[in-house]
């Protein structure tokens, strides 16, 4: 039977709360023995990127809506969802940037957040529309945990 524990957090859409958001998620994940320190660091960065993008999306859309973060700890994974009500983004536009290993990539100072989330989580999913964006990040435990 799958045991799931959930921590939910809603933050004002301000960078003042960025450190709080990543601290809460990492503290929640640290109660679960599945991730070592290196993976907690991966989670910290990934969540920070997702929340930063959400806050920026709200600023661009001119909305003061809160950013919602949901962290669930299951037997085999930590899953974090970050939901915003910004104007969405074009994922194809991000993918169209020069490859990370292309020297021309250095001409683009932005757009690094999504590649970082992808490389620091086991699964990163982005669902974006004009209504907002839902980012889902999953980090798996090395092996199923008992209890």
């Amino acid at each position: 039977m799958t045991v799931e524990r959930v921590v939910e957090l809603t933050i004002p859409s301000s960078t003042d709360y960025l450190a709080l958001a990543r601290s809460v998620v990492v503290a929640a994940a640290a109660t679960w023995p599945g991730l070592g320190d290196d993976r907690l660091e991966d989670l910290r960065l990934s969540v920070s990127e997702a929340c930063a993008n959400a806050i920026e999306a709200h600023a661009l859309a001119g909305t003061e809506a809160a950013v919602r973060i949901r962290c669930s700890l299951a037997d085999d994974r930590v899953e974090v969802e970050v939901v915003d009500e910004g104007g969405g983004f074009d994922l194809d536009g991000i993918d169209a940037l020069p490859a990370a290993t292309d020297p021309e990539r250095l001409e683009h100072e932005s757009g690094l957040g999504i590649p970082l989330m992808r490389s620091h989580s086991d699964h990163a999913e982005f669902v974006s529309s004009s209504e907002g964006t839902n980012v889902r990040l999953v980090l798996y435990a090395p092996s199923p945990l008992a209890g």
Binding site: T15, D16, L18, L45, A52, A99, L106, G113, L116
Partner: protein
């Protein structure tokens, strides 16, 4: 909490950062970087007391590197946290930044720097 000190040591401009270099601290860092003396050519950013560098922070460092390279200058990162080194390597930027263990490796090193186009001693 992010903080930054800028000092001149010998012929180097030393930026010592501490805390998290992220979207929340980016405006302060950007302001500090834009205020660097015009024509500054030798800049070392001390990251040994930085806990986290996110995409925004990496972007600012890339921008500074580009700006300095444009007029023949160089940027050296000192004391990079190992996660950042990994992150830069994963992003294809492992060879973009010159990196040393500490500021002392370049500032005051008699043969540590040979001027623009030179190499930082290991």
């Amino acid at each position: 909490m992010f903080g930054m000190e800028i000092s001149e040591r010998e012929d180097w401009l030393v930026l010592s950062a501490r805390g998290d270099l992220d979207l929340s601290s980016a405006p302060r860092l950007a302001t500090a970087l834009s205020g660097l003396p015009h024509g500054a050519e030798r800049v070392v950013v001390d990251l040994s007391r930085v806990d986290l560098v996110d995409a925004t922070g990496i972007g600012l460092l890339v921008g500074l590197q580009q700006r300095l390279a444009h007029h023949g200058g160089r940027l050296v990162l000192a004391g990079c946290p190992s996660p950042l080194v990994d992150r830069l390597a994963e992003g294809g930027m492992g060879g973009v930044f010159e990196s040393v263990d500490s500021v002392a490796a370049v500032v005051g090193a008699p043969h540590g720097w040979n001027g623009p186009g030179g190499e930082v001693a290991p």
